[in-house]
């Protein structure tokens, strides 16, 4: 039996889903968190079934790809569980009535966020709603888990509604609301005050600047703190002695020693330069990248759950229009700063091919993921923070310029912003930590094997001198135009697998500051990693993907040359 969770965006479907199935899905406080469907098996107090979580829809006529996914799912569902935001009954009922009229499948109504109705002075007569619609209604608070058992037990009671209506849908809803809902006046809280302030200019601007700045400082503070006080000591005192013992057992210079340990620097392991599987191979993902993954997603988790992202979208809307997008493009971009893959998937929130193309190309070129960022900080930070900021400033400028160019040349028009702004909600530490855990475990599952594979390939390529041969072919561009050593080709190759190792590969090359800046910038913009590439190709289609690739390569070659000559003039 297929049980489909269906409802408006941002009503808590994913949270209900993970409560019922225990599956790892990200739930946040902004519309469009879920852009694809997830299946899970419910086994709840002996009640079994297959549950499907779907992207939110407002009606049965989809307006973007995420919504198309949800509407298609309706066909194969046996039972529909209509999750409703109880604090917003009126708008949510629109979909409910459409489901009753057009889908005609057994239906169960779930009034989620039930606890919040009390705070907001909303009183809903649940029994009356049951009677009018002729459907079972359960109340839940998915965040705390209240009512979830009741929901699971009630799935078998789902039935076809006998409710008939002929008036225009909103008139019908108006009549219904009058019978089942009573509003009482509620006091304005401090939250309400802040809520208004954060979307009213000019305060909204200062709030945004302060929050974004504070977030970056916090991410850096937590990331560096974890590295200096946890991960580095762990590596130095607990792990290094073990590896040195293993090293003593292996013949120096043998294939195994090269692959596992790599080059020793003055007889010691240099985690950034040795490039063995057990040295750099573990240090890059665990010692350098993981701390920043933890800090980024911890801070992002709060932002997501609190509900600030849509407000940032409003503020940035006019700016985004200049690059052919609308404000909600902030969502794929911010997600992309963590990892480009969910960023690329979030492109489904766009409707037009033009927007998708521009957003995807900008994401792939000028939104470095956190793994890459962490390695740039690791590599460049020792020269001073201003250079790290400098590189990100260059990438940001590139993002703007490229966006403007594409906005000018790509045919068509971009639609305007139209989003629902969720109310602020107090982030629950448990949900934030849960999401953080999901994302870390995905990093372990998806990224760690690729990093190790990458390091293995690097070693094999070097061992069999493949890099030398390739370096010879590409050296004109790399040495003449970019002013980098021809061994850079190794990093460019591996960058397709994982950007973080590619940046790490610059370390043993003994580059000058000038070359490192040029090198990391090229690695950031030239091409997305394989995982992102696959998702982008699927979302964009072959034709647009090829166009996008041409832009990527052209941008990388020119920005490399421009920086090489520009920095020389500046004397860096």
């Amino acid at each position: 039996m297929n049980i489909l969770l269906v409802g408006n965006p941002n009503v808590g479907k994913s949270l209900v889903f993970s409560r019922l199935t225990g599956a790892k899905v990200i739930a946040s406080n902004y519309p469009g968190t879920t852009v694809e469907f997830t299946e899970g098996v419910m086994n709840f107090f002996g009640i079994k079934g297959k549950i499907i979580d779907s992207p939110g829809i407002y009606s049965l006529s989809p307006t973007n790809k995420a919504e198309e996914v949800a509407v298609k799912l309706l066909e194969k569902a046996d039972v529909l569980v209509n999750v409703i935001d109880a604090t917003n009954l009126e708008r949510n009922l629109r979909l409910t009535l459409e489901l009753i009229k057009s889908v005609k499948k057994p239906l169960l109504i779930v009034l989620n966020m039930w606890d919040e109705t009390r705070h907001k002075g909303i009183a809903i007569d649940k029994e009356e709603l049951e009677k009018i619609l002729g459907l079972p209604v359960v109340t839940t608070c998915a965040l705390s888990g209240e009512g979830i058992k009741d929901l699971a037990l009630s799935i078998s009671k789902a039935k076809n509604s006998g409710f008939k209506f002929n008036l225009p849908i909103w008139t019908e809803i108006g009549n219904l609301i009058e019978k089942v809902q009573k509003l009482s006046h509620k006091r304005h809280t401090l939250w309400d005050f802040f809520e208004e302030l954060s979307i009213r200019p000019p305060f909204s601007f200062f709030v945004a600047v302060a929050l974004v700045f504070f977030s970056f400082v916090l991410i850096r503070f937590i990331g560096e703190g974890l590295i200096n006080h946890l991960f580095n000591p762990l590596f130095d005192y607990a792990y290094t002695p073990l590896v040195m013992k293993l090293n003593a057992l292996l013949a120096p210079g043998s294939f195994l020693q090269t692959v596992l340990i790599g080059q020793l620097v003055d007889g010691n392991i240099d985690y950034s330069a040795s490039f063995g599987l057990l040295t750099t191979g573990l240090y890059v993902p665990l010692g350098a990248v993981l701390p920043y993954i933890i800090s980024f997603y911890f801070v992002l988790g709060f932002m997501e759950d609190w509900g600030y992202l849509p407000r940032l979208a409003i503020l940035g809307d006019r700016f985004f229009h200049k690059i052919g997008l609308h404000g909600y493009a902030i969502v794929p971009m911010v997600l992309g700063l963590g990892c480009n893959v969910p960023g690329a998937l979030a492109n489904r929130l766009f409707q037009e091919r033009r927007e998708k193309f521009i957003a995807a190309t900008l994401l792939a070129i000028a939104v470095p993921c956190m793994a890459q960022t962490a390695m740039i900080i690791n590599l460049l930070g020792r020269f001073g923070g201003q250079y790290v900021l400098g590189v990100f400033f260059i990438i940001f400028c590139l993002w703007v310029v490229l966006g403007k160019i594409m906005n000018f040349f790509v045919k068509g028009q971009s639609p305007e912003i139209l989003i629902e702004i969720p109310p602020y909600r107090r982030p629950h530490l448990l949900n934030v930590l849960k999401k953080l855990w999901y994302r870390i475990s995905w990093f372990f599952k998806e990224a760690l094997p690729l990093v190790l594979l990458g390091i293995l390939i690097v070693n094999i390529l070097y061992f069999f001198r493949v890099i030398d041969a390739l370096a010879f072919v590409f050296s004109p561009v790399i040495t003449k135009l970019w002013g980098l050593p021809k061994e850079m080709i190794g990093a460019l190759l591996i960058g397709f697998l994982r950007k973080d190792i590619a940046v790490g590969m610059l370390r043993p090359l003994d580059l000058s500051l000038h070359q490192i800046i040029v090198g990391v910038t090229i690695l950031a913009v030239y091409f997305p990693c394989m995982a992102t590439f696959v998702v982008l190709a699927k979302e964009l289609g072959l034709k647009d993907m090829i166009k996008s690739i041409i832009i990527m390569i052209f941008t990388a070659v020119s920005i490399g040359a421009l920086l090489n000559f520009g920095l020389k003039i500046l004397g860096i």
């Binding site: 407002y58 604090t87 917003n88 708008r91 909204s204 409003i314 912003i417 139209l418 109310p423």
Partner: protein, 75 residues
């Protein structure tokens, strides 16, 4: 009668007509914004920026161009 972008912050009004394509009207209607509905202006991000209104208990942000095509009547 005035367009939604011209409405003063904090004022309530009734939507009279929406002069946009059917696709756009559908999306607005999904959120409860259609001829006959009551809206309250919450804020506007600069003179040509998005307009934030409250329809029922839903706050929605819509592009300036869209807002200028929505005619409302003051209550």
């Amino acid at each position: 009668m005035l367009s939604l972008d011209k409405l003063t912050r904090g004022r309530q009004a009734k939507v009279i007509s929406i002069d946009k394509g059917s696709n756009c009207c559908q999306k607005l209607e999904n959120l409860g914004l259609c001829p006959g509905s009551l809206v309250k202006k919450i804020s506007q991000e600069s003179s040509r920026g998005p307009v934030v209104v409250k329809v029922g208990s839903t706050q929605i942000a819509l592009g300036h161009g869209m807002a200028s095509k929505i005619t409302v009547e003051l209550l």
